[in-house]
């Protein structure tokens, strides 16, 4: 199953899931293989949950011109800290292709815990309170493996 996330100003035509995120909207799709919206980015589908309770998300949504390679040492170091540091409610990286790191979503229940986000060194974060019906809970990925399969958004197994 594929997962997609888009940060939008107006409601998209047919999202599987949508909720408020600060003064914007976060939309999610859990099945589409192709991008369901021009601004959608792939996400680990396990973080999307229609039964999900409200959350705080520390969102790194990088401009395309500023996306490092997924294997950039800074990205690898941040993913190592995900495995070693304080656990979030859920976490996923974002991808737009098989090689670039397009951002991350670090989910927590309390805004103070957003400062643990290891991806904060890779760009400016948006800290948003997200309504119910979009983001669930997912234990942090097992380690120490960090490599991805077929350009999937880490930590998705496929």
């Amino acid at each position: 199953m594929s997962g997609w996330l888009a940060l939008l100003d107006t409601p998209p035509p047919a999202p599987d899931l949508v909720t408020t995120a600060g003064d914007r909207l976060l939309a999610g799709w859990r099945s589409a293989d192709a991008p369901p919206h021009p601004y959608a980015r792939r996400v680990d589908p396990r973080v999307l949950d229609p039964e999900g309770t409200p959350a705080w998300v520390s969102l790194l949504w990088l401009d395309r011109a500023a996306m490092p390679l997924f294997d950039d040492p800074a990205v690898v170091a941040a993913r190592r800290r995900v495995l070693a540091g304080p656990a979030p409610r859920a976490v996923s990286t974002l991808v737009v292709d098989s090689t670039h790191f397009a951002g991350s979503a670090w989910l927590v229940d309390e805004p103070a815990a957003s400062t643990d986000d290891p991806f904060r060194l890779l760009g400016d974060l948006l800290l948003m309170h997200v309504g119910s019906g979009l983001l669930g809970r997912q234990p942090r990925p097992p380690g120490p493996a960090l490599e991805r399969y077929s350009g999937a958004p880490w930590p998705s197994d496929r």
Partner: protein, 175 residues
């Protein structure tokens, strides 16, 4: 259940369900995913032999990180103790917790000579994604444990059997 010490290559290790050090319920098959799994049962944070061996595994984790390989360590320590121990080691894999000793009794891996801590025997298992046993070591005596080179060789054999493209496609395969 057959005692785990009777298992050999090709046998199936039980798909344990236990909480991790963050108190999330986990299963071994979920933790293995599609990758080889190194499962390590250990006495507890208090044991100097375990600390020495775990530092060896920490030294191996940079290789496992790029080799599609997962580790799990299991003890009777509480989630709080396991989490603190894991953080102190800078370990980047999952620590499972069995303070009620439910799985310990089921597996028959209790170290009966330690009546104070009632801990797990120290064992190391190399398992396939479906928990098929590739090889295991008894570490009651420290030298019974695998060296990192033995683990590398075992993981090479295990991975070779799992990856259909171990011998990558030849150029002519692309026409």
């Amino acid at each position: 259940m057959t005692g785990m010490r009777d298992l050999g290559p090709g046998d199936r290790f039980p798909d344990l369900g236990l909480p991790d050090s963050d108190d999330n319920p986990r299963r071994l098959t979920e933790l293995a995913g599609p990758d080889p799994l190194l499962l390590h049962t250990y006495r507890g944070w208090f044991c100097p032999k375990e600390r020495t061996f775990l530092r060896q595994l920490v030294a191996l984790q940079d290789e496992a990180e790029v080799a599609y390989t997962r580790f799990v360590s299991l003890s009777v320590d509480s989630a709080e103790a396991s989490g603190a121990f894991r953080a102190g080691l800078d370990a980047r894999w999952t620590f499972l917790c069995d303070p009620d000793r439910t799985a310990l009794r089921e597996l028959g891996l209790q170290e009966v000579s330690d009546t104070v801590h009632d801990p797990y025997l120290s064992t190391v298992w190399l398992l396939g994604p479906d928990l098929t046993v590739h090889r295991w070591w008894m570490g009651y005596w420290y030298w019974g444990r695998p060296t990192l080179d033995e683990l590398r060789i075992g993981l090479r054999e295990l991975t070779r059997g799992l990856r259909v493209d171990w011998d990558p496609p030849h150029p002519e395969a692309n026409g």
